[in-house]
């Protein structure tokens, strides 16, 4: 059996600060190339201190042979979470010490899709509560510098509605996961510019998709995963101040309705959708709960629609304009 033991290898000599979702990550690596790739993708923004929110150590194994990225596996227990991609690429996330350590083969350093679409979103999703970020299963769109968050059950049509909204003048921040944190300026929502994920029937609403081919996504589901800016020529946002929250519900009735949603109901909805955390992570749980509590105070509505994505988007836009 091949053994790659990195226990006794020298310190990681390249260091940089990455700004991701409003938090500062202290990157340490033995690869100059990887440092360049990640600092270009997540440039340092306004960090003057010396204490990082998360320390992120990545060792690049130059001896590992080139291979395709195997299907990932994510598991966790107590304060540790493991992400394994075969035996040569693995990461451990330590949610008590705010520390991430991992090893990748050298050919993975250039693979921007791996870092930007897979690893960094996973890292923020896993580490978020420990550093004051609530990963919320919501789409988020921005117009006139105000954000709207759209939540709903899987399959309710968040992504389809998000693209339709982006085509009628909103900037797309996220179609699936939005990372919310409390900054000095108030509640702030971040996206990670990951591709939108649309199901195979989406070309009937978005003919631009016909130039692409659906492929298995991270969860095995067949889907179109495309960069919305390139595929649909829509605007993108990286962060916003959220103002309204919509719970999307599908209806068989060809109409749409809006009705107010109580703070308590939004709070319960978001808490029940959030990943359970063990007792040891009580502090992280409380941080996440505090942010969810703030999100629940937004002006909130149930948006029930049986209209097409574009008609629903227009109705939502009109509703926002008139309120």
């Amino acid at each position: 059996m091949i053994v790659r033991n990195h226990f006794a290898e020298p310190q990681l000599e390249h260091e940089a600060v990455l700004s991701i979702a409003g938090k500062n990550f202290g990157l340490r690596t033995n690869s100059e190339v990887l440092m360049a790739v990640l600092t270009r993708a997540y440039p340092r923004e306004g960090f003057l201190g010396s204490a990082f929110d998360v320390v992120f150590d990545i060792r690049v194994d130059n001896a590992a042979e080139k291979n395709e990225l195997p299907a990932p596996c994510f598991r966790g227990t107590e304060h540790l979470v493991f992400a394994t991609f075969g035996s040569r690429t693995f990461f451990t996330f330590d949610l008590l010490r705010n520390y991430v350590v991992g090893v990748v083969p050298s050919h993975r350093t250039h693979d921007r899709a791996f870092w930007q679409r897979i690893l960094i979103p996973i890292m923020i999703g896993v580490m978020g509560p420990s550093v004051g970020i609530a990963p919320l299963h919501c789409a988020c769109l921005v117009r006139k510098s105000e954000g709207i968050m759209i939540s709903g059950l899987s399959g309710a049509g968040k992504s389809t509605l998000s693209v339709a909204l982006a085509q009628c003048g909103f900037n797309l921040l996220s179609d699936d996961w939005t990372y919310v944190t409390q900054l000095n300026s108030g509640l702030t929502a971040f996206g990670l510019s990951v591709p939108v994920k649309l199901l195979p029937d989406a070309p009937q609403f978005f003919p631009d998709l016909n130039q692409f081919t659906p492929a298995p996504s991270l969860n095995g589901e067949l889907a179109y995963e495309v960069n919305a800016v390139d595929a649909f020529h829509v605007g993108q946002a990286t962060n916003c101040t959220p103002r309204r929250f919509f719970l999307l519900q599908r209806s068989l009735n060809p109409a749409c309705t809006f009705r107010s949603l109580a703070t308590r109901d939004v709070n319960n909805w978001l808490e029940q959708s959030a990943e359970r955390l063990p007792k040891r992570l009580a502090a992280a749980h409380n941080r996440r709960r505090a942010i969810i509590h703030e999100v629940a105070k937004l002006e909130s509505f149930v948006f029930e629609t049986g209209l097409s994505p574009h008609a629903s988007a227009q109705a939502l836009k009109d509703f926002c304009d008139s309120h």
């Binding site: 091949i2 053994v3 033991n5 596996c73 959030a274 063990p278």
Partner: protein
């Protein structure tokens, strides 16, 4: 347990419908005390009772829990993982932990501060792999985590 933690524990029970995508709350009902060949007392918790006999094959003795605080091993057999050949063992070290991966879905970490090891074992981890590789590694890393002066003795060298 503090009052805050008690409240949190009650809340966890009441929120049993919330997602557990990472398998954090998967039960490990089998609990045995083991003594490793280096006389380290270990409390092994697992959902796979076969690991107990495999631990004995690896040279560990079943013992009664004593007054010594044991090193805790929580080893979860991940029945849902498809079997894949194990190609390599890759290991890493951070300030407080040793981390080892044997392939997709099979990895464990040994935490020196908490005196704990947590592992997920895919179906490909056979009895032979457990006896020859996983248990000896867990044992030596747990010993190093307990007595850091033993780190130099880690008998894991790079080899192809």
């Amino acid at each position: 347990m503090t009052r805050t933690n008690l409240a949190f524990a009650e809340e966890i029970v009441s929120s049993s419908l919330t997602p557990d995508l990472l398998g954090r709350f998967a039960p490990t009902p089998y609990k045995v005390y083991l003594q490793t060949s280096s006389r380290l007392l270990v409390l092994m918790e697992t959902n796979d009772c076969m690991l107990i006999s495999q631990a004995r094959l690896a040279g560990f003795r079943l013992v009664r829990g004593g007054s010594t605080l044991p090193f805790r091993w929580r080893l979860f057999r991940d029945w849902k993982r498809p079997a894949q050949a194990i190609g390599a063992i890759t290991s890493l070290r951070s300030n407080n932990c040793f981390h080892v991966s044997l392939g997709c879905g099979t990895s464990f970490s040994v935490d020196s501060e908490f005196k704990e090891a947590f592992g997920f074992l895919g179906l490909e981890v056979t009895q032979a792999v457990m006896v020859r590789h996983v248990f000896p590694l867990l044992s030596s890393l747990s010993l190093c985590a307990t007595y850091p002066s033993n780190i130099a003795s880690l008998a894991m060298e790079n080899r192809a």
